[in-house]
């Protein structure tokens, strides 16, 4: 694994693009390549490097190295972001090499979370590529003694109108000597000239993955590394009264056993849960040694937590007036005056992320006081800070190398497992590969919040929806680290509740306190799971009450085309960290995806007995999605023959990966609706592996998923999370069509 680093050197600082996010770098990276090209006009000085910014370098041999600075967990981001640069650079993708960045603030934001990688970096990376392209053109123009306007970069070469050309390798040294052009001179490509953006490109690691060569966190091999596993208190965060390691120490291969302290309460996001650490020559010895431990556990602050009772309490609380987070008109009066009131409670349990690769990390704390990390982390800079903090060493002594992530879904944002590895390495005095077994993963996750909701919708004599009461209660993410974080915060409620887009006169959106009694984290699409479920199912009931087609009902409720002024309706409205002026909530774009799904899915067609089609639409992470799901229910067994999605995510940077995110998002949603559930009894999680924490398998997942991408020139937005929310109610509504049973609790139990 260390070999990646030996080829990286520092070519020297340039203050290029200093006014942009790209230019904040302390130094630049370049890669030295051997020179074998015989054409002197294609290649130049093999020692030369043109490294105009921290994200790219071109060697004298013409090899372009692009830095993938965000984490690859399956979305394709490691391919899609460099592709944006390669396009503007007019690089030949087959001559591009990717380097995964270490965690370092010089790359800007590396927190691969919240579906914002493309949104945040599309403009900057285009500019970075275009600037390098202009400098290469200028270098060629200087060589030929012509004006740069006569020179055009195309496919790794710069061409002159006369027909002469130079390769990028030849120009690298010359471009490196040029002053950086003023930003006003930089011309971005006309979208019609895109060669990669909006076109299909396979992921960079494809062949490595199918041949078993791809390097995940689990696959890190450091000479002489020992393997560590930890036995944690089943009641997460609680301590240890006593333990006996005699039997464990007699297991062949076990080297050391020691106690790691528990964090206390609240547990926080980055502190290890503590427990008994077993260090052994290999994974099997460590696991066997751990099984042989005898431990008397202490009880902690959450020993009284029973999730079944707790959700009942939360549901009871939804019947009371809550803390109002959005209010329009007079909800009580409107409900009292309504001719029809539809009332419904909704519940969802805790969910676990369960990425196929459980958390794992390799750490080498050395005698010189430095610590090297190799880990599958979504947020390498947070990991960096957390490790330095836990080891109490200066941040510059820590290096975080990022591997491929074998799935994450939000779990690998939290660096707790990396801190465990770092502490174990220091304790052992050598490199440690820390492994979470599947049992550890499911029992000690940062779970999706369980949630109780209550909704009341009033319809008047003219069949108009006049009242919308929505109460949503769940233990907030903040409660994991902050004892005062007892109530869902505005940003969580802006995921599908406070941003309710329907044109209704009397609205009240409320929440109430529900302290976290277990580690709560963010799971793919976060609170949108809760709210899209309740709102999407309620809207279907409203359509029925109004005797309207569900699609027509939603189009009607959306009212006239407009950008909704949520800023005036909700204090501190959260628009996924973007000003709403830059990314408005457009009912026109929403209607467009709805109409597209209606048209493409054959909405309204006759279906045989036992089949049903359901519809829902939801905007999350600034991406507009509509969804139609077809189900077939046979003696309680649910199959999903067909799913249609329409998505408006602005410019579709890598359409092939957008489609794959939607196909996968549907399968992910199917798990949540049909089978996944975490329960907690007396503070301990009951489920511990895939035989009791159930997830969708091939026969449960949609048989076909069609993804209709809206052709758009709007700013690009993310697609990792947005498929999940609308799929959930669309599936529930389809089940209703097929069975007549309304779904109000996940996972579903058919009568």
């Amino acid at each position: 694994m260390e070999k990646n680093n030996t080829s990286i050197y520092k070519p020297g600082r340039r203050d290029f693009l200093k006014n942009t996010a790209l230019g904040s770098g302390a130094f630049l990276l370049g890669i030295q390549m051997s020179c074998t090209d015989r054409n002197k006009f294609l290649t130049g000085n093999p020692d030369a490097t043109f490294a105009p910014n921290v994200y790219m370098s071109i060697s004298g041999t013409g090899e372009v190295t692009l830095i993938a600075h965000r984490s690859e967990m399956g979305t394709g981001i490691r391919t899609s972001l460099p592709l944006i640069m390669a396009d503007e650079l007019e690089a030949d993708w087959t001559k591009v090499k990717l380097e995964q960045a270490i965690g370092d603030a010089k790359y800007g934001d590396q927190n691969t979370d919240g579906s914002y990688s493309v949104r945040m970096f599309y403009p900057q990376l285009r500019k970075a590529g275009a600037t390098a392209r202009l400098m290469l053109e200028q270098a060629a123009a200087n060589e030929w003694g012509v004006d740069v306007s006569e020179c055009t970069a195309k496919n790794h070469q710069v061409h002159h109108t006369s027909g002469k050309s130079f390769g990028y390798g030849y120009l690298a040294e010359k471009a490196a000597a040029l002053p950086v052009p003023d930003e006003s001179q930089i011309k971005l490509k006309d979208p019609k000239d895109f060669k990669y953006i909006t076109k299909k490109t396979s992921i960079y690691d494809l062949e490595d993955i199918v041949t078993g060569k791809a390097g995940f966190g689990m696959d890190v091999e450091i000479p002489n590394a020992k393997v560590a596993v930890i036995r944690r208190n089943p009641e997460a965060g609680a301590g240890i009264k006593s333990y006996n390691a005699d039997a464990a120490l007699s297991v062949p291969g076990v080297q050391k056993i020691y106690q790691m302290d528990a964090p206390g309460f609240p547990m926080g996001y980055e502190r290890p849960l503590g427990g008994i650490v077993v260090i052994a020559d290999h994974s099997w010895a460590a696991i066997k040694g751990r099984d042989a431990l005898s431990i008397e556990w202490d009880r902690g602050a959450n020993h009284d937590y029973n999730s079944a009772d707790y959700i009942g309490d939360m549901s009871g609380l939804t019947k009371k007036n809550g803390s109002i987070k959005r209010e329009q008109g007079q909800i009580k009066k409107a409900l009292a005056g309504a001719t029809q009131v539809i009332e419904q409670d909704y519940r969802i349990p805790h969910f676990s992320h369960a990425p196929m690769e459980p958390p794992c990390a390799t750490a080498h704390f050395k005698e010189d006081g430095t610590c090297k990390i190799w880990a599958p982390v979504q947020d390498p800079q947070w990991t960096h800070r957390a490790v330095a903090g836990a080891l109490e060493i200066e941040p510059e002594k820590v290096t975080v190398n990022v591997t491929l992530l074998g799935g994450a879904f939000g779990r690998k944002s939290k660096p707790d497992f990396v801190v465990e590895a770092a502490l174990a390495s220091r304790e052992y005095g050598g490199p440690i590969k820390l492994l979470w077994t599947r049992e550890d993963d499911i029992q000690f996750d940062f779970y999706h919040f369980s949630c109780a909701q209550h909704m009341k919708v009033g319809i008047n004599a003219d069949n108009k929806v006049i009242a919308w009461l929505h109460r949503s209660i769940f233990p907030p993410i903040a409660g994991t680290a902050d004892p005062n974080g007892k109530q869902a915060s505005t940003f969580e409620l802006c995921m599908g509740m406070l941003d309710m887009p329907f044109d209704i006169e009397n609205v009240s959106c409320e929440t109430n306190e529900a302290p976290a009694k277990i580690r709560i984290g963010w799971l793919r699409s976060v609170a949108n799971i809760n709210h899209a479920f309740a709102v999407g199912c309620m809207i279907d009931q409203v359509a029925e009450a109004r005797n309207m087609d569900p699609v027509d009902n939603m189009l009607d409720l959306l009212g006239p085309d407009r950008n909704i002024d949520f800023g005036s309706m909700v204090d501190g409205f959260w628009n996924y960290n973007e000003p709403i002026e830059n990314f408005p909530w457009s009912t026109a774009r929403f209607k467009n995806v709805i109409n597209t799904v209606k048209e493409k899915s054959g909405w309204g067609k006759d279906l045989p007995q036992g089949r049903g089609i359901g519809f829902a639409a939801h905007r999350s992470f600034l991406t507009y999605v509509a969804c139609a799901v077809e189900v077939e229910v046979d003696e309680g067994e649910i199959k999903i023959p067909m799913v249609h999605f329409a998505v408006d995510c602005g410019v579709a940077v890598n359409p092939e990966r957008i489609k794959s995110q939607f196909e996968g998002g549907a399968a992910f949603g199917a798990s949540l609706v049909l089978m996944s559930k975490i329960t907690v009894e007396n503070g301990a999680v009951v489920q511990d592996n895939f035989d009791n924490y159930l997830v969708a398998r091939i026969q449960h997942a949609p048989y076909e998923t069609e993804v209709h991408i809206i052709d758009s020139q709007e700013k690009p937005t993310g697609v990792g999370e947005p498929p999940v929310p609308p799929f959930i109610p669309a599936l529930c509504n389809a089940i209703y069509q097929a069975t007549g049973q309304r779904i109000t609790e996940l996972p579903i139990k058919l009568a």
Binding site: E72, G74, G212, D219, F690
Partner: protein, 152 residues
């Protein structure tokens, strides 16, 4: 500890291990064949699937003491230094997302096609039900199996 000779990808390997050591950890921790992945340790997810005498097995529950005279194939040995038709189909259909479970998926698919060169949807469901993919690449797995059936 005892000494074992294993035939893996047509090569003989000698390892020292306790008899209860699962093949998964022999491959990964003793031999550095990390293409075979850990997923659950209890034959519930299929991520660690390899072939033992041509049959798909979950290497996390196959212990080393029963493997003498058996021929083991892992993802590294699948194509004999070139891509197996199933791997080719996997690439043509752009199946992987994170990729972690795909070694196991491919090994299960190869075993299916060896015993049933033209599987129906039901056959595919039955053969692949033991392999979980949390990214949800199932639609493409099915498509790639059908494509591989044509390629081979």
């Amino acid at each position: 500890m005892a000494s074992y000779t294993l035939k893996i990808n047509n090569q003989l390997h000698e390892v020292e291990a306790t008899p209860d050591m699962p093949l998964l950890w022999v491959l990964r921790d003793l031999l550095g064949l990390t293409g075979t992945k850990y997923g659950c340790g209890k034959a519930l997810c299929g991520t660690c699937t390899v072939h033992v005498d041509g049959l798909p097995m979950r290497s996390c529950i196959v212990t080393i003491d029963g493997l003498a005279d058996k021929s083991i194939t892992t993802i590294e040995g699948l194509g004999d230094n070139k891509l197996h038709p199933v791997q080719k189909a996997w690439m043509e259909e752009d199946v992987p997302q994170c990729g972690y479970c795909q070694s196991g998926q491919i090994m299960s698919a190869v075993a299916l096609l060896e015993s049933n060169p033209n599987p129906s949807d039901e056959d595919i469901d039955a053969a692949m039900a033991g392999n979980i993919c949390r990214c949800g690449t199932y639609v493409r797995i099915r498509r790639a199996i059908k494509k591989a059936a044509k390629l081979s």
